[in-house]
């Protein structure tokens, strides 16, 4: 009787083990998805709203018109929350890069990088349109 039941008990054990492994994977995967998406959404949204805020009084367009990349970097550093790494590139209407200096506060070490695309119309009397690509990541 004991010998006959040994195999069945092993099968039950195996199924229990499979159940535990599977459920732990399922739960942990869901937790990770929620956290990652929340962080990613916040990062992109924060970046976009930072650009809108900077553009609301025409500062963003003025920095670009004046080719004042250091001031633009400082302004972004101030307006973005601490601990966010960024890298910004400015393109003109023909998608030619405008900024001659790197507009970034530090290197990216995170795998989770958010991307923001923004159209900046200058407020000056000579109208120019620029395309801005902003990459954001949580600084290590």
């Amino acid at each position: 009787m004991k010998n006959e039941n040994r195999g069945q008990i092993r099968i039950i054990e195996a199924f229990l083990a499979v159940l535990i492994i599977f459920s732990s994977f399922a739960i942990s995967a869901n937790l990770t998805v929620t956290q990652t998406v929340t962080n990613h959404d916040n990062l992109a949204s924060t970046g976009l709203l930072a650009l809108v805020k900077l553009d609301s009084d025409g500062s963003l367009g003025k920095y670009i018109e004046d080719r004042d990349w250091a001031a633009l970097r400082d302004a972004l550093n101030l307006i973005l929350p601490a601990g966010i790494a960024f890298n910004l590139t400015v393109y003109d209407g023909q998608m030619q890069q405008v900024n001659t200096d790197v507009i970034s506060n530090c290197g990216f070490s995170s795998e989770d990088i958010a991307f923001v695309e923004y159209v900046c119309a200058s407020q000056g009397s000579n109208f120019h349109c620029y395309m801005i690509h902003l990459y954001l990541a949580v600084a290590a």
Binding site: A14, A121, S125
Partner: protein, 256 residues
């Protein structure tokens, strides 16, 4: 020998099932991870709400309107507004991050506005430089097609009023109050230049006229200066707001 084989089969049948079960577990787990990765990629492309995108695009149209009004108020052609908005619309078509965008517009034409602009610089103490256009922003993405209608009105208004007190001879001390508004809200001026009329010519007011300016910081400026004229003092204020929109207002100052 047969007994031994049977025993081996009985012993190893459970182990085989265990291996099979573990294999299934690995397959299920890897499928879960794969689905999770796919979900993450899908979510990362829809990274912020549509309301944020619309806010950003509205900001760009507003800036384009400001730029056009700044140009036109300084003597530019009225066609500049439509040309700039066409340019902006073309740039919007190059945006592909979260979908396809198309911007159409209609510049306002009525009794006050011509091709979306209105420059009303009167002699009654008020001056208005304004631009107005209606927009339709169409936004197409995999999950939804959205059309948003909105209007952008950029208006810089200047209101001046003042009086003078007699000094010696024909000298008069003019006190002028100048108020600047952006979209009916008090706004700061970048530069105010005053002129007064003398023998049919407009003469700039400068330090030789003992010009003094008090900036109240809320869009109200008190300007005082001394002029020599025989009649009431006609004053013209030329104002640039912080957006470089030009507006002019004329008034006549009478004795207080």
């Amino acid at each position: 020998m047969k007994k031994c084989k049977r025993k081996f089969r009985a012993n190893s049948s459970g182990q085989l099932l265990i291996v099979a079960a573990l294999t299934i577990a690995i397959i299920i787990s890897s499928t879960t991870i794969y689905v999770y990765e796919l979900c993450r990629e899908t979510n990362s492309t829809e990274s912020y709400p549509i309301s944020d995108i619309i806010l950003a695009l509205k900001q760009s149209t507003k800036n384009a309107m400001i730029s056009s009004l700044a140009n036109i108020s300084k003597g530019g052609e009225k066609t500049v507004l439509e040309a700039n908005l066409d340019n902006l619309s073309q740039t919007f078509r190059n945006l592909h991050q979260l979908g396809m965008y198309s911007l159409s517009f209609t510049a306002l034409n009525d009794s006050q506005y011509d091709s979306g602009t209105c420059l009303s610089w009167n002699t009654n103490g008020s001056g208005v430089s304004s631009a107005y256009a209606n927009f339709t922003l169409k936004f197409q993405r995999m999950t939804a097609n959205i059309a948003v209608d909105y209007a952008v009105n950029i208006t810089t208004t200047v209101a001046i009023n003042g009086s003078y007190t007699r000094l010696e001879g024909e000298e008069k001390l003019v006190n002028l109050t100048c108020r600047v508004f952006n979209e009916d809200k008090p706004a700061l001026a970048k530069n105010i230049t005053l002129f007064y009329e003398n023998l049919g010519n407009w003469v700039p007011v400068n330090s030789s006229n003992s010009l003094s300016t008090v900036d109240y910081g809320n869009g109200t400026y008190l300007l005082s200066f001394i002029v020599s004229t025989s009649s009431n003092v006609q004053v013209s204020a030329h104002v640039y707001d912080l957006r470089y929109v030009f507006v002019q207002a004329n008034t006549t100052c009478y004795e207080a």
